[in-house]
């Protein structure tokens, strides 16, 4: 048995049973070389595992407290020292586990990770790298919401880190990096944007310049960097827009028997589409830059999503992504041209 991956059982909207099913899927998948360590309320886990006829098959770290999805992250992390998120991150720091996967409160995972694990030497601030399905494959958006007021160096390091993630987890080469912007003109706007531009342009990275929001889905580059506020808005708006269109369709179809038949004939296509646009399929979003492997799953993750997040964690571990980030960030940031721009 290879790596120990800690799984936050208290996180996620679908409840403990769904997460446990994911743990079972992951541990029975031969392509995943990992032992799953369950982190959550031990009594509840035992009851659910018994129902699933998997009693005593997992190591459990008892974490009786729960940080809810709506809770204020920093306060919750400070107060709930026995929550699955805090104990999971502590276990990661202590080496009891090699990676931590949570579908719980994103802000709390970011806070606990940043406070406890600190960053990889050379990395200034962590960020969430979110895989987005496009017509041409996966595009990574970073930051998805960890850092709402990043400095130019943070943007630059997000480019470096998301490119490494793209290479390791999605097997890409010569990764193209773009900067999310609302048009060509704006790039000339603030001093901060000018500096970000210059950092990327002068570096050895494959920087393609500004990318308009539509580029998120067209797949025109492999990685798109942005601040966590814009990134989070983009992700949630995309979800919301697709959802509302689905609801509009449902509202319209309800009144029309021919349309109902149409939807019935399309049900196979809709299933395939769901799989294509569902980020459950893409293995969660790593919090890159912290000194440890942390994967954040979508709150609505199902068992398959949990399994895929564990798979991503193992891929990152086996390729030593954090060692690679440390080497590359330090090599690139030592470059005299880059240092000159930053001073």
């Amino acid at each position: 048995m290879g790596y120990k991956v800690g799984l936050d059982v208290s996180g996620g909207d679908k409840g403990i049973s769904e997460i446990l099913k994911g743990a079972i899927l992951a541990s029975s998948d031969k392509s995943i070389d990992a032992e799953i360590v369950l982190i959550g309320h031990k009594n509840n886990i035992d009851i659910e595992l018994a129902k699933l006829k998997k009693s005593n098959e997992f190591t459990i770290i008892d974490a009786p407290e729960i940080i809810d999805m709506g809770e204020s992250p920093v306060a919750a992390v400070r107060r709930k020292r026995k929550s699955s998120i805090v104990l999971g991150i502590n276990a990661l720091k202590d080496g009891a586990i090699d990676a931590f996967v949570s579908c719980g409160n994103t802000g709390a995972v970011v806070s606990a990770s940043t406070l406890t694990l600190r960053t990889i030497p050379g990395v200034e601030r962590p960020g969430i790298a979110v895989p987005i399905p496009t017509r041409k494959g996966i595009t990574i958006l970073m930051d998805g919401g960890a850092n709402i007021m990043p400095k130019p160096l943070h943007f630059f390091q997000y480019g470096v880190m998301s490119a490494i993630y793209s290479e390791i987890v999605f097997n890409k080469n010569n990764v193209e990096i773009g900067l999310l912007n609302i048009g060509e003109e704006e790039s000339k706007g603030s001093d901060s944007v000018k500096k970000i531009y210059k950092l990327f342009s002068e570096s050895t990275l494959n920087f393609i310049g500004n990318v308009e929001p539509k580029g998120l889905f067209s797949g025109e580059c492999d990685c798109i960097v942005c601040d966590g506020f814009a990134g989070n808005i983009a992700l949630k708006v995309a979800e919301g827009a697709v959802e509302i269109v689905g609801r509009f369709i449902k509202d319209l179809v309800k009144k029309n028997p021919i349309a109902i038949l149409g939807v019935f004939l399309l049900s196979g296509t809709i299933k395939k589409l769901r799989r294509k646009v569902d980020y459950a399929e893409y293995g969660g979003a790593p919090l890159l830059g912290v000194n440890g492997i942390v994967i954040i799953g979508h709150g609505r993750s199902n068992a398959v999503a949990v399994k895929n997040a564990v798979k991503t964690a193992v891929k990152e571990l086996s390729h030593d992504i954090n060692g690679e980030i440390e080497r590359k960030i330090n090599a690139i940031c030592q470059d005299s041209r880059i240092r000159e721009i930053l001073t």
Copy 2:
């Protein structure tokens, strides 16, 4: 004949002929009390009007220069003094027309308007108020991209202006205003956000607090204020997300005869859906806060969208929206509690 509405014939992705068809629709619509003044390349307009058998039916302001969609707004407005956008805004300032409608380069319309018309007395910065279709009706997002680094007072005034627009154009009462944010926690973040909060909370406006990006489509409030960067990203991401899902469906359906039949049976529903989510239907987005009535249409506006934008302009004129904005902004900003927060 009531108002004179200037129409930029050179703007829009669909070309001059589509815009002219919109002009014809608007002038033949008895509910629109306006004379349309065409602003664009006179020779081209004459040729197209002849094709449409409407020669000599419109007043034309000859504007031989064209500002392209991709051009840098500020530079283009400075250089192309004979463009439809510059001459249209000049005509508005001089009183030759009462309102200006353009589906052209948004940045150029904003720049020309701001430079030439200046703001309504008391208004600090203009912003674009974009109507968004939700399940419960129209929600206004402001700012859609005019002001990428607004100050707290700008946010506050966007709230006031979008509420007035909501009342006048969409016949709403007791308009609810929300602040676009990525979660509860962030509201406690920066001093700027704290100040925005306080301004709204202490005012007589009906402020409901933070609204998550999904609230854009759920219709949980009537107006959502945000900075122009986030607003523009949100709008373009929403469009892009819906488009990509449409393309995914096309890709999947192509290979499947049953699915093709399903889509065929749904074609009526899809048409209705298009009409529901197409902002062509909602009359363009006014640039609120400048001293004149300026309506920005989507680049892809068709004839109906052009007609609806003209209709919005007339509605704003007949209700004296700018007089109302001036009165209300000055009354609200004179309030001692508001002044105290701002000092």
